[in-house]
């Protein structure tokens, strides 16, 4: 007896819709087993992960705060992936954006610079992220170098650059030798939406990005081009669409969004530049993009869900001493199930009995 894949005559629309839900269900089932192995009560753990964060206002705000960068980065990545360009260095573009934007904050610190500071930080961060993403894009288009490897190598480079700056030239002289810049001035800080709360302007910007992406993909020729180049490269060539141009474009947009997310994180929830400003947002956003089926609205939902796992993971750590790495395992397992369930859209499983097959061999 053997399990084989059989290509469906056409994509299964029903499965395309329910597959993320199946994936989430399977992941939760797997987590129950993992919790049991770790000797924790699975029901209490699931409650800490998925229910508790939804029950108080502070956690709800915190989920939105975590979801904002994830959604912004994932929207950019989804454009790349739709166009068959594999940007996996969003983490680096996020860090470079944070660094570039912080430059203005650091330079204007303690001066009477006005309200232009924050917008300028945003613009510079987005530009830096875009330029940083253009390095792998140009290496791919001009020289054929794998954008997967080059974009990833640049993550480590960005990480080291940030480390150098906050330990060296930008270190806060009053910071007791900690590797961090001084706290940003109020004019260089992202405004809060709720007085005394955590929710900040970044959440609104993330929603605007989602709306813009939905319009781009659904209503414009450029969006159509992106989807055709990714789904049917040959057809795109006959249509006169240039795949190379789209690699450059989608990488630049993706890098700009990641860079913007970077400065919003630093000038918002963190408040200063230091190592470890990202709990792997750039990599988690890859999961968000796939879980959201590379669709803007789907990504919004997926981003909120993964933000929930971050917050839930922290709560489970505090309440039940469940290691924080469980959250990363959870996210990895989720991505596997999402990809596996997607396989069902194109294929169906069938059990084959080898002896029967011999009998049908002459067919």
């Amino acid at each position: 007896m053997q399990l084989v894949l059989e290509k469906r005559a056409e994509r299964s629309g029903t499965i395309a819709l329910v597959s993320p839900l199946i994936a989430v269900g399977l992941t939760i089932a797997t987590m129950v087993i993992l919790f049991a192995i770790l000797g924790k009560n699975p029901l209490l753990a699931l409650h800490a992960y998925f229910i508790a964060p939804l029950t108080d206002g502070y956690s709800l705000q915190e989920i939105a705060v975590k979801a904002a960068p994830l959604v912004m980065i994932a929207i950019g990545l989804s454009l790349c992936y739709l166009a068959n360009a594999w940007n996996i260095g969003a983490e680096g573009q996020f860090l470079i954006g944070a660094v570039a934007g912080s430059w203005i904050a650091v330079r204007t610190q303690g001066t009477d610079a006005g309200a232009w500071v924050l917008p300028a930080m945003f613009v510079l961060a987005a530009a830096a992220g875009a330029l940083y993403a253009l390095i792998p894009a140009i290496c791919k288009v001009k020289f054929g170098a794998s954008e997967i490897l080059t974009s990833l190598m640049l993550v480590y480079v960005a990480d080291l650059l940030l480390d150098y700056l906050v330990r060296g030239p930008w270190r806060d002289p009053h910071g007791f030798n900690f590797p961090t810049t001084a706290e940003f001035d109020p004019v260089a800080t992202v405004p809060l939406l709720i007085e005394g709360g955590r929710l900040h302007l970044g959440a609104i910007i993330a929603l605007l990005v989602v709306a813009a992406a939905a319009i781009l993909l659904g209503r414009t020729i450029k969006g159509f081009e992106i989807r055709v180049v990714g789904a049917a490269p040959r057809a795109a060539r006959f249509g006169g669409f240039k795949a190379d141009h789209l690699v450059i474009l989608t990488f630049a947009v993706s890098g700009a969004l990641a860079g913007l997310a970077g400065i919003i994180e630093v000038a918002g929830p963190v408040g200063h530049l230091q190592p470890g400003i990202s709990p792997g947002y750039g990599f988690t956003a890859i999961i968000v993009a796939f879980l959201g089926r590379l669709n803007p609205l789907g990504i919004l939902v997926a981003g909120l869900f993964l933000a929930l796992t971050f917050i839930g993971g922290e709560q489970a750590q505090i309440a039940m001493k469940i290691p924080l790495d469980v959250t990363k395992v959870f996210q990895g397992v989720l991505l596997f199930y999402v990809l596996a369930c997607d396989s069902l859209i194109l294929y169906r499983f069938r059990l084959v009995f080898p002896n029967r097959q011999v009998a049908r061999g002459t067919r």
Binding site: T150, M153, Q357
Partner: protein, 305 residues
Amino acid sequence: MELVEAIVLSVLAASTPLLIAATGELVTERSGVLNLGVEGMMIVGAACGFAGAWLTGSIFMGALFGILAGTMMSLIFALMALGLAVNQVATGLALTILGVGLSGLVGAGFVGERITPAVHLSIPGLTDIPLVGRVLFGENAFVYVSIALVVAVWWFLYRTRAGLILRACGDNHVSAHALGYPVLRIRTFAVMFGGACAGLAGAYLPLAYTPFFIPGMTAGRGWIALALVVFSSWRPGRLVVGAYLFGAVTILQLHAQGWGVGIPSQFMSALPYLATIVVLVLLSRARSGGSTAPAALGTVFVPDR
């Protein structure tokens, strides 16, 4: 001269994990499968290798644990990418994300622990030969295994029938299938071999390179191993050259500080990653006439019966 010897020794030590992981990935890619999860398999190998050595008190058992862990990880990849025909790039990324989490979970209990690292070979007489003695006859077992491994892989790929069939699967799976070869089974074995090597390469880090485990200790070596396979044009001989070159770049940054070069350490640490990008660009450019990659690399194969 002692400085030269020290440099050669440390270059060998830094190159060995790259060589082992890249050799495994080379076999995987030669069968037509692109497994981007090397970093994930390595990091799980590092955690399990250290756990194994700490629990059993034996470096050999640690290495075995690392190999097993890498192989198990690669089986997940095989199930997804070969069994379910899922996009190999996405599956490889998922494997790395999962691996980082698993490694943290397994390794958390071992941070701060120390073990006695792998012993260095010492043959009285031979090891004492000036200049070459320590370099040739004074390494730890991992170094010799890495060289034996790459020689064995060369011999397998170019001198055996099985190697020919494996390469055929990587170049044209449709023809290999038509000739009656079980393409998916062969690829599964190739993926498992790659996983075993990545696991061993990961285990090398806490067992021989440093005597302790820290989270994220692979530091992108899995990705550099992937780049090395491209650098080598999928050939074992060039892989050795590439791995030692990269090891040398890695060591350069350590020694540069010792020599008092006035460059911030972070810039020197960025060298291996920047070198990888430069190498990828130069090689891909030189090859613009035609790719030397296995023709079916990364493509999905679902046999029709």
